[in-house]
């Protein structure tokens, strides 16, 4: 336990941030889940007759939509015959109410939850629709709950960070070898553009799901090739990684613009959003991908030969070479992995936005590096942990999300984010300098020797 905390001390920072934002965004919330639907049904069964006209309202694409559907279904099962379900915008609701008044029906109740009860139409119902004055609003009991901890918000955090987190896996490996990869931001764009162009060539909007996968493959492989090239330059020609990847960064960005002529690609198959927006077994695909990739990377770095070689190359390249480590191969490998991760990140971004744009991923390399460094990986190489990087990525995302919830201005957000990154790294330095000098922490047998 103590060792885990020592290795992943940043998790405490993450938890502290979550706690802070939870407290700051604490407010009365009207629930929306399955339990809320059951509560609504129970109240309607108690207070209304089976022939009463009940209107169940949900906002489109929000968590109140399934609430409305479920409540409607349950009421019909209970024998209510005049249940109307509206899932849409406030305007849809107004039109529906207009029709009901026009038909002269007597509306008994409007049932809804979540933010819908604060819609203007509903709050001003007695003034706007005097005929419906007897109508009652039925909503689940509101309770005190942080907006930050709402399911939809937590998923939004994952959605925002997924691309950065996945690229940070490769970046962690590169930084552990004491290198750096500045090209990943541009590779996002290159990958997204290559992928969507392939899909367009395979039939565009009418293409099948297979075209999506072929497109992804094209985008990722294209980036992989670029990464191999960077790795070869670093390993065999001894060019500084900063310079190599700076050059590649410009080349990849330019290539992405050249390929598309500067425009976004919209002629994409309907199956494209599945990866970035879809769900499998009720869990968003991005979350599954994130967990799977990080677990695999963690096991790779800690339990395989190649993983151990990566650490050794970063810790002392010459000692590693003289111990029989294929140093050059290792270096090519990490740059290839970094570029492949960037390629995958580009595909996810394209899938989330349902398009491929050559201006995607600008500045992402810096966020990725920040995530890795906040996660406790040293820029001087030899040490670092993939799971630490995951924590680092979440710290950045949580800060951004929290500030959004608090309604901070975006310029202020940048200042705060930069400050927090610096503070996190300083904190880690203070902590690890203590663990580097064991005689301060009282561990035994580690006296400085003559």
């Amino acid at each position: 336990m103590r060792r885990t905390l020592n290795n992943y001390g940043m998790i405490l920072v993450l938890l502290a941030l979550c706690l802070l934002f939870s407290l700051l965004t604490l407010k009365r919330q009207v629930p929306t889940g399955s339990a809320a639907a059951k509560e609504l049904v129970a109240r309607i069964v108690d207070g209304f007759g089976e022939r009463d006209v009940i209107l169940v309202v949900g906002a489109v694409n929000k968590d109140t939509a399934p609430l409305a559907e479920e409540t409607g279904m349950l009421l019909r099962q209970r024998g209510f015959s005049n249940v109307r379900v509206v899932v849409g915008t406030p305007r849809d609701l107004r039109l529906k109410l207009d029709r009901i008044t026009a038909d002269g029906e007597k509306l008994a109740a409007i049932a809804t939850g979540g933010d819908v009860i604060r819609w203007g139409v509903i709050e001003q119902l007695p003034e706007k629709f005097p005929q419906l004055a007897t109508c009652r609003l039925v909503a689940p009991q509101s309770r005190l709950w942080p907006t930050f901890l709402k399911r939809s918000n937590l998923l939004a955090i994952v959605d925002r960070i997924i691309v950065i987190a996945i690229i940070a896996i490769g970046m962690t490996m590169v930084i552990i070898t004491a290198g750096i990869d500045l090209s990943v931001g541009s590779l996002i764009a290159l990958s997204a553009v290559a992928a969507t162009l392939t899909m367009k060539a395979l039939g565009g909007a009418s293409a099948s799901g297979a075209a999506v996968w072929l497109g992804f493959l094209a985008g990722i492989l294209c980036c992989g090739l670029v990464g191999c090239g960077s790795g070869l330059l670093v390993a065999y020609f001894k060019v500084a990684p900063f310079i190599v990847t700076l050059g590649v960064m410009m080349m990849a960005r330019g290539l992405a613009f050249l390929l598309t002529g500067g425009f976004s690609i919209y002629q994409v198959p309907e199956a494209l959003p599945w990866l970035g927006q879809g769900r499998s077994l009720g869990v968003p695909n991005t979350v599954i991908l994130l967990i799977g990739l990080f677990l695999a990377a963690h096991i790779f770095m800690t339990h395989t030969r190649l993983g151990r070689y990566i650490y050794a190359v970063g810790g002392n390249e010459e000692a590693a070479r003289l111990s029989g480590v294929p140093v050059k191969l290792v270096i090519v490998f990490v740059y290839a992995v970094s570029a492949l991760c960037a390629g995958l990140g580009g595909c996810i971004q394209a899938s989330q936005l349902n398009t491929g744009t050559p201006s995607m991923g600008v500045m992402y390399e810096l966020y990725v590096i920040a995530a890795v460094v906040v996660g406790g990986t040293s820029l001087s190489g030899g040490s670092g942990r993939v799971l630490g990087t995951l924590i680092g990525a979440f710290i950045i995302s949580v800060i951004q999300n929290g500030m959004n919830l608090l309604g901070m201005e975006s310029y202020t957000q940048q200042v705060v984010l930069g400050t927090v990154i610096l503070a996190a790294v300083l904190l880690d330095k203070a902590r690890s300098s203590r663990s580097m000098a064991p005689f301060l922490t009282g561990r035994k047998g580690s006296l400085p020797r003559s």
Binding site: R305, A320, S323, G324, P326, K444, L447, R449
Partner: protein, 574 residues
């Protein structure tokens, strides 16, 4: 405070120090005056002459910290019979460890005191207390018979203590002059007065009796020259106590001679020198007295004429030592390795040799003779221009260290920190690095096997570490070397190259390494050992090659009758 402005290094400070004719007492008197009441001194003696006059205002020294609690009525020169430095009853403990227990030390003017002891005996801690890096738990420091308090490195410098560490504190890209005056540049209107600095630096080197180009960058200097720059730097701040930590570790025999000349020059000028070394031959040559530390305790002190080498080793190790070199010849077998006509530039020119199973081949020579380069070429660490390598009679094509390892060759490098170990990684990881192919299960590492084997080797070689997860950076030199040994022994290679296997490690660990070399030879391995310590080459080899300027200048097959002079004359190609 005005006194600071007139700190050491101000223009007028140097002449008295450089001329130094006033004798030790007068010179030190000047120092103390400056230290305790620089401003006052300036007022009274603006001309910058020798100041042994009385000084009225000495009451401002308290807050400076260097001489706290020190009651002096004037700067009158003091009793020269009192020792230059006395440390009384120094104790220092770190959590869980008593690093120093009631250690006392006396250093007189014009004396070289050798401080010896195994790694971990407390030498470094004692020096750090003297240098102000560690505060002692108890004990007092006395300078010239007066109690002194040294709380910070700056205070140590003010008290005239200068420490030259094994790793020099020089900035490679600055010139010799800039390094000497770093942080104390002499300026006028914000501009450095290069000419005046240069004149002073030249005088310093004249005092030492060494000629160094003041405008060369330190990067381009040899280790020995860098050392003289450090010494000059110490003199330029008027150090009266000079501590040298393993000063000869990286020097050639000639350079050591020159250093000893400098030391005797400094002695004659009244400096007290504390000399730390593992090389006992040098201790007997250069020191006047020797002081032995063991496990943080002061085991004994003796005049150098009153103690034998064996008795000294016994005190250091705490047990009697039968022989320094426990050589046991092994039965010789078939030829393991043959090298023909190895060539790389001018560093290695047409080197041929062979080693048989069970044989220990020593390679002697001065630094830069091409010994290390030769072994690196055979190991594939560098690429030869031409030459053939035969392993067990068959031609071996070795392009990189991986090939060499596959052919059963391993190389224990000269510089274990830069080339042998990943310092930030733990014992187990360093041990596993060249062995991961043996611990592999598919792409995965069999962690249990790795742990078990590293634990076994750590036990066998008696590596002293709190756990296998301890970073090797925090191990002592001897234990680091054992980790390097362990990682290669685990491969069970047939041909083992040792490059300076005992450099910078203590007597006890050296002995264990010699025993290990015996064991390897007995097990039918071919061992090639480079060493700059001639007694070691003579004591441990079955056969000796002597190299000079990239070529093999001679071969000694009858090691028992060979002498150091014999080897040296070949190494110098006389």
């Amino acid at each position: 405070m005005g006194g600071r402005r007139w700190g050491r290094g101000s223009g007028w400070r140097i002449p008295p120090a450089v001329s130094g004719e006033g004798g030790p007492a007068a010179e030190i008197g000047v120092e103390d005056l400056d230290r305790t009441a620089g401003l006052a001194y300036n007022e009274f003696c603006p001309s910058g002459g020798h100041g042994s006059g009385t000084v009225a205002t000495v009451d401002d020294f308290g807050p400076r910290g260097a001489f706290k609690g020190h009651t002096v009525d004037s700067g009158v020169s003091h009793d020269s019979a009192a020792p230059l430095l006395e440390m009384r009853g120094i104790s220092k403990s770190f959590p869980g460890v008593q690093a120093l227990a009631n250690v006392s030390l006396v250093l007189r003017r014009g004396e070289v005191l050798a401080l010896v002891g195994e790694n971990g005996a407390g030498k470094s801690t004692l020096i750090k207390v003297l240098g102000g890096a560690h505060a002692p738990d108890s004990g007092t420091l006395w300078r010239d018979g007066r109690p002194t308090h040294i709380a910070t490195p700056a205070a140590a410098r003010q008290a005239g203590v200068s420490i030259i560490y094994q790793e020099f504190n020089l900035i490679p890209d600055l010139t010799v002059r800039e390094n000497i005056f770093l942080g104390r540049e002499q300026t006028r209107f914000g501009f450095v007065r290069g000419a005046s600095e240069r004149a002073q630096a030249a005088q310093l080197f004249e005092r030492i009796g060494v000629c160094v180009d003041l405008d060369r960058r330190c990067r381009d200097l040899s280790v020995a020259q860098q050392q003289t720059v450090e010494i000059a730097k110490a003199l330029s701040v008027n150090a009266s106590i000079l501590v040298m930590d393993e000063p000869t570790a990286a020097l050639t025999t000639q350079e050591v001679r020159r250093l000893f000349g400098v030391i005797s020059e400094l002695k004659s000028r009244g400096l007290g020198i504390i000399y730390i070394s593992h090389r006992l031959a040098e201790v007997f040559e250069v020191a006047d007295r020797v002081m032995v530390l063991r496990d943080g305790r002061h085991v004994g002190s003796a005049r150098i004429g009153d103690i034998s080498r064996d008795a000294l080793i016994e005190q250091m190790v705490g047990r009697s030592v039968e022989s320094e070199f426990p050589k046991q010849p092994a039965a010789l077998g078939a030829e393991r390795l043959r090298v023909e006509d190895l060539q790389r530039g001018t560093a290695v020119r047409g080197v041929s040799f062979s080693v048989r199973a069970g044989e220990v081949l020593g390679i002697a020579g001065l630094a830069g003779a091409g010994r290390t380069e030769t072994l690196r070429l055979v190991f594939g660490a560098d690429v030869p221009d031409s030459g053939h390598v035969f392993v067990n009679g068959k031609r071996a094509f070795i392009r990189d260290p991986r090939d060499a390892i596959r052919h059963g060759i391993c190389l224990l490098t000269e510089d274990r920190k830069a080339q042998g170990l990943v310092l930030a990684h733990c014992v187990r990881e360093n041990f596993g690095l060249p062995n991961l192919d043996r611990f592999a299960r598919g792409p995965f590492v069999d962690g249990r096997r790795e742990r078990a084997e590293s634990a076994r080797f750590a036990r066998e070689l008696q590596i002293k570490a709190t756990s296998l997860e301890q970073p090797v950076a925090s191990l002592s030199g001897g234990n680091q070397q054992k980790v390097v040994l362990a990682k290669w022994l685990a491969r069970d290679a047939d041909i083992i190259f040792f490059d300076e296997p005992t450099r910078g490690i203590d007597v006890g660990a050296k002995y264990e390494i010699y025993l290990l070399i015996n064991r390897l030879a007995a097990a039918g391995k071919a061992v090639v050992m480079i060493s700059s310590e001639l007694p070691e080459v003579l004591g441990m080899s079955d056969r000796i090659l002597v190299m000079h300027e990239g070529q093999i200048k001679g071969e000694i097959t009858d090691v028992a009758r060979a002498t150091q002079e014999h080897i040296l004359s070949m190494a110098l190609a006389r």
